[in-house]
């Protein structure tokens, strides 16, 4: 395998993958008889052309940062966490329980409680499959998928039979007493975001989490143990790194990150817990981590890209005759090119970075 320079690997490969995905998306739009130029301008103006559009793009970005970090964390321990969806929804349940029954004096205290509640319940939902893998040898990919379904069922039951206010027809909780400020509520930022937007201060929480994950993985002995374990379990045992403990910690941290996503959508945007609150963000997190090269800073960039695709895609459905389903097609293409086919791009690039020929 020919080596390509690191800058090309980090910058050029994802960029070229994106261009390829865009070309394919263009062909798809042409094939259904629509105007690709219109599609692109609608997406760009809708997602990035106004502060209002940015308010939505950043809202999605926040969720994707959390779920992307969750996948990244597990990945470094050699674990593939597909349970971000269930862990995020459990996080939402934790927030609902913490906010519905305790009259917090101020939103800052409520936010602190929500952080703890969502992280703890997400961590629980991640740690159980971790324990099953470490102790019982049940494969984490299978168990985390199964735990997604258990989470759906659990939440439907909680919403229908336990938390639903009497007389309400919809399976949802009552409104929480306290929310968190949206970006349009923050003095200074409200000069930019003049209309109410769903993006809220959990965006900053997500960015702090990025720095935290980076510092944990690359600057602490625990992160060292997680990465060493992810590279080689026998070697980790040699070094006195305990497999069960490491798997459970990594999965708990991963679940906690996914759970904290609910601060953005459950506490921030909807202000109550609904069914399927995570709306697929748990799965998008896999693509985000993949494209972000499983590095927290890469995750921020790819979460922004997917936030753009999400918001831009919604605008397509709103303003053009292109069906909103195209959003899924475009996302699929991006995942296909940046994730599955990224090796192909690297090989093509290898041709250009060939060393000098034999004289």
């Amino acid at each position: 395998m020919r080596q390509i320079p690191r800058w090309a690997d980090v910058v050029l490969v994802p960029l070229i993958s994106l261009v390829l995905a865009a070309i394919c998306a263009t062909l798809v739009i042409l094939a259904i008889g629509q105007d690709p130029w219109e599609a692109i301008t609608t997406m760009v103006t809708g997602a990035l052309g106004s502060a209002y559009g940015w308010g939505y793009t950043l809202y999605y970005t926040t969720s994707f940062i959390f779920t992307g970090l969750a996948v990244t964390m597990a990945f470094h321990a050699g674990l593939f966490n597909i349970g971000g969806e269930g862990q995020a929804q459990l996080g939402g349940l934790g927030i609902a329980l913490a906010l519905l029954f305790i009259p917090w004096p101020h939103w800052t205290v409520a936010l602190l409680a929500a952080i703890i509640a969502s992280a703890a319940s997400g961590a629980l939902w991640g740690a159980i499959p971790g324990w099953l893998q470490a102790k019982r040898g049940s494969h984490i990919v299978i168990t985390t998928i199964m735990f997604n379904y258990i989470a759906y069922a659990l939440i439907v039951w909680m919403l229908v039979d336990v938390l639903r206010p009497a007389g309400q027809a919809e399976p949802a909780t009552a409104r929480f007493g306290l929310g968190i400020p949206a970006l349009s509520d923050i003095p200074g930022l409200n000069l930019v975001f003049t209309d109410a937007v769903p993006a809220n201060i959990s965006l900053f929480l997500a960015l702090i989490a990025c720095v935290g994950v980076w510092a944990l993985l690359w600057r602490t002995p625990l992160g060292y143990e997680i990465r060493a374990f992810g590279k080689s379990e026998p070697a980790a045992r040699y070094a006195g790194i305990r497999p069960v403990r490491t798997v459970m910690i990594a999965m708990a941290l991963s679940g906690a990150l996914a759970g904290m996503m609910s601060i953005n959508n459950v506490m921030g945007e909807s202000g109550r817990l609904l069914q399927n609150s995570s709306e697929g963000a748990g799965f998008i997190g896999i693509a985000v981590a993949l494209m972000g090269r499983n590095h927290p800073f890469g995750v921020v960039l790819s979460a922004l890209l997917f936030g753009f695709l999400y918001q831009g895609g919604a605008e397509l459905g709103l303003w053009t005759s292109i069906p909103i389903d195209l959003r899924v097609v475009v996302q699929g293409l991006v995942i296909l090119f940046t994730g599955a086919l990224d090796h192909m791009v690297r090989m093509m690039l290898g041709v250009f970075f060939r060393p000098r020929k034999v004289a």
Partner: protein
């Protein structure tokens, strides 16, 4: 420039140079390999042998220089071209599909057409002919996973011959073989030569070069320093050419002065997947002595090391400095390290380090929670890198770059990093397995000296090695393991190879 094809060398390299970043792996190398000869290429790990062969096999492109095959200039941009030019390669780590049969592996990548059956029956005939002609008997229907390592190597050779290789390159072929298997391989190689094939043998073992090659080229730090006729040279001369100075091929040490007992092992038993691997091992080890464990690989040495290192569980008793160790799995590798046990594992790639991690991260491996590598909740990278740089200087690790991933170091330098890590924690007991496997001569001498110096500081050392020479020259006492038992313990100064050989085969003096 034109030469008649009959007298042209099978391979001629002219002025080959190759650099990886700042590292000049090959510097203006020229070499001629005569047709129908066995040509050895010897050099320390990291001398550039493998790079040179990778250029010849099309894995790398040379920055400059030319390759001539049978006197004709032949560019080799990829391994397909190498195969077309009649060059076959047998790698150190075999590239066989474990659950395929021999026949399926031989045709893999050389199938003709879309249907398998015709190529399989054609290959079966061809394989029978090759086996007959070269004394390479194999069962074409055996699965690779059922074959011994020596046999698998024969399949690799057959693969090359099936692709009509006239020039066969073997990279460290005896590293994985028992002495008997190595002898068989040499017989095969001589047979190939006598049939007109050209063999290039890459190795760092002097004995092999002396035994089998016709001509030998010596590489040192990317340069070809000499090509000599094997008959006219000696191991001492080759060693000196390789290292660039006189080397001691023998361990220099004073008689041991054993002190208090450090390690007492009583009736140690290990059962793994229903098979009893250790069947009641007992031994005693004192301060200031080296106890060598000799034996053919797989007779329980690895299990003994793993139990003592806290990686595997066992029954029986182990006392370290008078304290009973927990063998049921309540103590792990870190507990052992804190109790004063250093461990250089037999398989350094698999256990001893994380290949993708930087050298400094590997220096912390196993000691990453120690106070001197921490600053508050964080890893003290500055302290660790400084310590790594200091270790690299003390142990002459090249290149002395703490940030370089350990996989980019040669085997000898990797081992120096691991030995430095384990020795410099000042353990009371050092477990050291295969200390010089895949390690070059200069580094072997260095590592042996370090082990003896540690003994002279009053530490207890348990050495496991499959190299009998190494066990005999380094140890003060030699215990021989066979089938999970210690067959006997001998004084290293008075025993001999024959006596130990019998014990290794399971024959006791009373029998």
């Amino acid at each position: 420039m034109l030469q008649s094809p009959n007298t042209a060398p099978a391979i001629e390299l002219r002025g080959i140079s190759k650099a990886f970043g700042p590292v000049q792996a090959n510097k203006d190398i020229s070499i001629r390999v005569a047709k129908g000869s066995i040509h050895g290429i010897i050099g320390e790990n990291g001398a550039g042998k493998s790079t040179l062969m990778s250029i010849l096999y099309g894995f790398y492109r040379a920055d400059s220089g030319e390759i001539l095959v049978d006197g004709r200039e032949t560019p080799i941009p990829d391994s397909q071209s190498a195969i077309r030019a009649g060059i076959g390669m047998v790698f150190q780590h075999f590239k066989l599909v474990q659950n395929f049969t021999v026949l399926e592996n031989v045709i893999l990548g050389a199938e003709d057409g879309g249907l398998l059956r015709p190529s399989l029956s054609k290959a079966r005939k061809e394989l029978a002919r090759l086996s007959r002609d070269y004394g390479l008997e194999v069962n074409p229907d055996a699965r690779i996973e059922d074959l011994s390592v020596g046999y698998q190597q024969r399949v690799e050779i057959l693969k090359a011959l099936y692709r009509q290789a006239d020039i066969l390159i073997l990279d460290e072929p005896t590293g994985v073989l028992t002495p008997a298997e190595a002898d068989h391989l040499f017989r095969i190689l001589r047979g190939l030569r006598d049939q007109g094939k050209t063999v290039i043998l890459i190795t760092h073992k002097l004995r092999e070069i002396m035994e089998i090659t016709d001509t030998v080229s010596v590489m040192r730090r990317g340069e070809m320093v000499a090509t000599v006729t094997t008959r006219d040279t000696s191991p001492a001369e080759l060693a000196e050419l390789m290292v660039g100075r006189k080397v001691l091929l023998r361990v220099d040490k004073t008689p041991a002065t054993p002190g208090e007992v450090v390690l007492e092992v009583e009736d140690l038993r290990v059962t793994h997947n229903g098979v009893e691997r250790l069947k009641g091992v007992s031994l005693t080890l004192r301060r200031g002595e080296i106890l060598g464990i000799a034996g053919v690989a797989g007779n329980g040495q690895s299990e003994l090391m793993e139990v003592l290192a806290g990686i595997a569980t066992a029954t029986g008793q182990v006392r370290l400095l008078g304290r009973d160790l927990n063998l049921a799995g309540h103590e792990d590798g870190r507990d052992r390290r804190r109790a004063g046990v250093g461990h250089v594992p037999e398989d350094r790639h698999h256990l001893g380090c994380i290949m993708d991690f930087a050298a400094w991260e590997n220096v912390a491996f196993g000691y990453h929670r120690e106070d001197d590598y921490r600053r508050g909740p964080f890893t003290d990278q500055a302290a660790l890198k400084a310590d790594t740089a200091a270790k690299m200087q003390r142990f002459d690790v090249r290149p002395p770059l703490p940030d370089l991933a350990i996989k980019h170091f040669s085997g000898g330098n990797q081992q120096k990093i691991i030995v430095a890590r384990e020795i410099e924690r000042n353990p009371d007991l050092l477990l050291i397995g295969q200390p010089t496997r895949g390690v070059d001569i200069g580094a072997i001498e260095f590592i042996h000296k370090q082990i003896v110096a540690l003994r002279d500081q009053g530490k207890a050392i348990l050495l496991v090695s499959v190299e009998l020479d190494e066990v005999m020259s380094l140890s003060d006492r030699v215990a021989v393991m066979f089938d999970g038992r210690i067959m006997g313990t001998r004084d290293a100064a008075t025993t001999n190879e024959r006596e130990l050989g019998l014990l290794m085969a399971g024959v006791t003096e009373t029998a």
